[in-house]
């Protein structure tokens, strides 16, 4: 295995483009090193992107949007004085991943590129409308988070492409987001179902919404029918029931020891309601 620590994303991309065999990028390493250790994936070329300038920065831009370096950790996101008040759902989703030790290393980009359908931060990012910058041999382009995963362990990134930044939109007024997941214990487990909701209000009425489901299909889903179910409503019981029905209808889960198909489908609806209520309360300015 060759270990590289390039000084720029262009250099990282060129290294990957010219590499033969299995290539992995190394950010926090909390998945890459586990796969290396368990001999699931033994890279021929490992490209550590943490020596690139600015990769740990969390920056609020002049227009209110956020740019996160690809090596910014969950702990750094949780400790940031302002990110969590703008995007509590994104921060709480990332914070659910692993232990204190894992939080000290794990990153949004790693969670995304690992390609797990059950990745906690991904539904929250999809709901929030997060995009990533992808640097490749032909330059840099912006891609919506929901377009990155293509199946368990698989992404749409092609050879030589590397995610070089995470861009969270400006939160704006009267808006809130939330992420909830179900696990069979209280801490440190993989989601059986995850739901991210982001919405905006005009008075009491929902005017914009994005709802995303995790762990109920081969990839994280952006479910437009869920958004339609609550847009124009005041999140009354009828709208919540329609939201739950749309969430359950979007599910195409696996049946395993951690949750049956019927259970995951039911819980997706329940969590969608609860997450929407939290996002709504946050959009109203209530601390929740």
């Amino acid at each position: 295995m060759d270990y590289h620590s390039p000084a720029s994303f262009a250099e990282a991309s060129a290294l990957a483009a010219n590499a033969t065999g299995v290539t992995r990028f190394l950010a926090g390493g909390t998945d890459v090193l586990v796969q290396l250790r368990s001999e699931l994936v033994t890279p021929d070329t490992l490209i550590d992107i943490k020596k690139i300038d600015g990769v740990s920065d969390i920056t609020r831009n002049a227009d209110g949007s956020w740019t996160l370096g690809v090596a910014a950790t969950g702990a750094e996101m949780s400790e940031h004085p302002e990110l969590g008040s703008d995007w509590p759902g994104v921060v709480e989703a990332m914070d659910l991943i692993g232990s204190t030790q894992v939080q000290g290393r794990a990153t949004l980009t790693g969670n995304l590129c690992n390609g797990s359908p059950a990745a906690d931060s991904v539904p929250a990012m999809v709901a929030a409308g997060v995009t990533v910058s992808v640097t490749g041999p032909d330059g840099t382009r912006d891609v919506a988070v929901e377009e990155i995963p293509t199946g368990p362990g698989k992404t749409s990134l092609s050879k030589g492409e590397v995610i070089s930044a995470v861009k969270i939109p400006a939160r704006g007024d009267n808006a809130g987001d939330a992420y909830l997941r179900f696990i069979p214990r209280t801490e440190m487990d993989i989601a059986v179902v995850g739901v991210g909701v982001s919405l905006r209000l005009d008075g009491d009425t929902v005017t914009e919404a994005r709802v995303s489901l995790g762990a109920v299909a081969p990839t994280v889903l952006l479910v437009e029918d869920c958004a339609k179910a609550i847009i124009g409503s005041t999140l009354d019981d009828a709208a919540l029931d329609a939201l739950a029905a749309a969430a359950s209808a979007a599910c195409n889960p696996i049946d395993d020891k951690r949750g049956t198909i019927a259970f995951r489908t039911e819980v997706a609806g329940v969590l969608a309601k609860r997450a929407a209520k939290i996002a709504y309360a946050r959009a109203k300015g209530e601390k929740a």
């Binding site: 295995m1 060759d2 270990y3 620590s5 190394l26 926090g28 390493g29 909390t30 090193l33 586990v34 290396l36 250790r37 368990s38 490992l46 550590d48 943490k50 950790t73 702990a75 692993g98 232990s99 204190t100 030790q101 894992v102 000290g104 290393r105 801490e187 440190m188």
Partner: protein, 159 residues
Amino acid sequence: MSKLHVTTTVNGDEVDFLCDPRETLLDCLRDKLNLTGAKEGCGTGDCGACSVTVDGRLVCSCLMLGAEAEGKTIETVEGIADGDVLHPLQQKFIEHAALQCGICTPGILVAAKSLLEKNPNPTEEETRYWLAGNLCRCTGYDKIIRAVMETAEELREAS
């Protein structure tokens, strides 16, 4: 396969070693630097027995490559006591019998010290969540939590 030359600071001393790119920081601490306090329990970041701090941040040394330690500042359990004088946490672990087999203890001491540096007055719940990544199959955790809570109280009174 060529070895990588890594220079890093461990418990205040600048050290260097040669490592294979696949070797973890834990491998390097134990096998190159003879610092065998950090233990390998699972090797996959689940048990916390290999906990160390890197630039002040609590991490599993099994989830980091030795090569990534270049230029970093690392603290391990060997750096906690001041010569023969135990750190208050170590003393409290003895008083409370907060260990049996001892495999998890170095990692828990490093993790608990990191908690108290960040939050000198944690609640029991905060302490239990902070230490959730450190598994102990002997004590049932209660004695560990009591030792950490009492150390926190004494350190607050002393400061």
